[in-house]
Symmetry: C2
Subunit: 417 residues, 2 copies
């Protein structure tokens, strides 16, 4: 069978399962999530043994160290997966919630309720925990899922999904509600994005390369996630007691994540005072600084920032720095170079803060705190399937509700038009 | 200049205007809408004269009669455009509305507010009234718009947008908030759908061919609209006093629109009684009937329905008819062939109605009334930019809110992570 047809068959089975999922109860879903948690804990030795084969193969291929780290499972990580399943079970059910109703002059009763998408396609990279997270969130939102993880983790993902399916079906969830795409061929990603009418939405989770590939080829609607060129602007009215720790930690606490700061903008009136202080702190913490001309006049220890730097998500201990003439210049720079993810202003000037929040075009705009808070758990959503950097459907951290759509239910008695 | 670069320049100007639009007040927007209405009324002779050139050119090209009708303007139609502008001015401003807020344990105050998309690209066909509608809705929702109408209406659309821009700028709206793409080259549609970072969303309004072309090539997020293969299922517990007028009017009142019924499903237990009655009414109203085998046993006057018929949006006085064995069979047929637009059940059985509404996968699911009500005005939204047949962002009739996205505004004082 052709790869494309094989995938379409899998999606068709998921679609049939999705029709059944539209009718499952909250109790069934929660029981399935708890059974899945029990199963991965009970069978952790088996999971770890299979995972070791993936890790061995990756090492033999000379895979980078941080990728190996993401791939590797141990009892603590399996415990954390099980904990995630428990947490998802404890969340309120997003399905069936009525968010709008009206009775029209002609007597029609119109209600709008949250319903599942149907089949959610998730395309991700090496981390096996994404498999468990994605299944948990899709099942809790009554969706079927079609999962395509990175080829490095294929054995681990296969054993995980087998265990999850067995546990879920024991509580009445249809078998094909969880479909794992075991095709390592990269063309499978493209084929999956084009399964119109079978897959309802595609969520790519990974680097810019994966996202671009999906967006370029998809005919199924896509929710783009993840890339973050995040800015912090230190205004002339900034309190340095806030500006220094916020900017420092926004860079160093976890430089590999999408909500870390990549560019620091500083108002010219305070640059001579602020820049040497932050430069010293950053360098002490092994951050490489790349400044524009004005920054380098004050801090000659900085490397030269090029045009390319302003648009780069380093995901590393590197920071670009620029001195700006005004709040307006800061906003213009951000709107030119950001990825509409998260940007912040540090200021005690309420008007400046308000203008910044109004005019900066991003999913989350912060005042006097760090872009690092753009995260489903930090926002109190209790779960996160990703951070949307597009404006359709969901923007910013996506919780369970982002995995639902709505439906109008209209009742009449003989009205015609 | 290359067509692609020319388009990108237009979009860049629109994007700059969108930054300014993010700060305009409700009063400015409403004043602009009223000024636009005044202007098109005051200059209707000019508009009609230019429109006559488009109509003449279309006639010379041998354009179909119904297309000519859609293209032609007269004082009544211009009056109706002005009325649409007034109505949009009277609607509540969707921007700035706060729909979620929370204070987190660490003191972060998180608010979610409605904001404009930025630049909305609208690709449509011959009807010049879409130009005015689209401008009205985009301005009211603080978006800039990039409009690409059908080539048949190019002179009319050009004069209309010139007049609208002049009126809007007189009230402080930035000039480039309304950008009309005067390139008739069909490749302009493809180029426009690929202006990532310049255009925030693309809404195609038109036939299946246009929509497919946009979906196939777009890298900008798309809201699909319009195609409707709508079903009415007459259950065994149907009241014929409702079933007969609802199904008749759903087919004949305006067969060309997307919410008209295309397929009638009838439960086998009542088929021998119901089908002859509805067949007679339909034939009296010049509807061509195409039935499956069981329908044709009861009503031999029907033509033979083929597999293709079940998936066809006739947009004409043609109806496909099928006898089904059960409610479940009706639901399965609908989920296989519908375009997730609108479907209805006629029944006095509450359980059957509930099951149908739960399991049919469509934007609007009706009980005892007609699919023809899927319409922004009928739902009380006061305006409509189209009917979404996808599940992302908006589903069903899209009012002003569908032209907005949201933004998280987060305030702290020195919190780090």
């Amino acid at each position: 069978m052709l790869m494309k047809d094989f995938l379409a068959n899998q999606a068709r089975e998921a679609k049939d399962a999705a029709r059944i999922m539209a009718g499952v109860t909250t109790e069934m879903k929660n029981a399935a999530l708890m059974a899945m948690a029990d199963a991965i804990l009970a069978r952790q030795d088996e999971i770890i043994a299979v995972n070791a084969e993936d890790v061995k193969a990756a090492l033999e291929k000379g895979t980078r160290k941080n990728m190996i780290d993401r791939l590797t499972l141990n009892p603590a990580r399996i415990e954390s997966m099980a904990e995630g399943l428990h947490q998802t079970a404890a969340l309120p059910d997003p399905i069936g919630h009525e968010d709008f109703h009206v009775t029209r002059p002609n007597g029609l009763k119109i209600r709008r309720v949250r319903v599942p998408f149907g089949v959610v396609g998730i395309i991700y990279e090496a981390r096996p925990n994404v498999t468990v997270d994605a299944v948990a969130l899709c099942i809790k939102s009554s969706n079927a899922c079609l999962l395509r993880g990175g080829s490095e983790a294929i054995r681990t993902n296969k054993v995980l999904t087998d265990i999850l399916i067995e546990a879920a079906t024991s509580k009445g969830i249809p078998e094909h509600a969880i479909e794992f795409v075991a095709i390592t061929d990269r063309d499978a990603v493209v084929a999956m994005c084009r399964l119109r009418k079978l897959v309802d939405v595609i969520i790519p989770r990974g680097g810019a390369g994966l996202i671009t590939r999906v967006v370029e080829h998809a005919t199924v609607p896509v929710i783009e996630t993840g890339t973050g060129v995040c800015h912090i602007y230190v205004d002339k009215a900034a309190n340095f007691d806030i500006a220094l720790p916020v900017t420092l930690t926004a860079k160093i606490s976890r430089p590999s994540v999408c909500n870390a700061m990549e560019t620091l903008l500083v108002h010219k009136d305070i640059a001579a005072d602020f820049l040497p202080k932050i430069s010293k702190l950053m360098i002490e913490n092994k951050v490489e600084l790349r400044g524009d001309e004005l920054s380098r006049k004050i801090c000659p220890e900085m490397e030269i920032a090029t045009e390319e730097d302003w648009a780069t998500e380093y995901s590393d201990l590197i920071l670009s720095v620029k001195v700006v003439n005004s709040l307006e210049d800061a906003i213009a720079h951000i709107n030119k170079y950001n990825t509409e993810h998260s940007d912040a202003i540090i200021t005690d000037d309420k008007d400046a803060a308000e203008k910044f929040q109004k005019l900066v075009d991003a999913a989350a705009v912060y005042v006097n705190t760090s872009t690092r808070f753009t995260d489903g758990f930090e926002f109190g959503f209790g779960a996160e399937i990703g951070i949307s950097t597009q404006k359709l459907h969901a923007r910013g951290p996506m919780g369970l509700e982002a995995l639902t759509t709505m439906k109008y239910l209209v009742e009449g008695y003989g009205q015609t038009r």
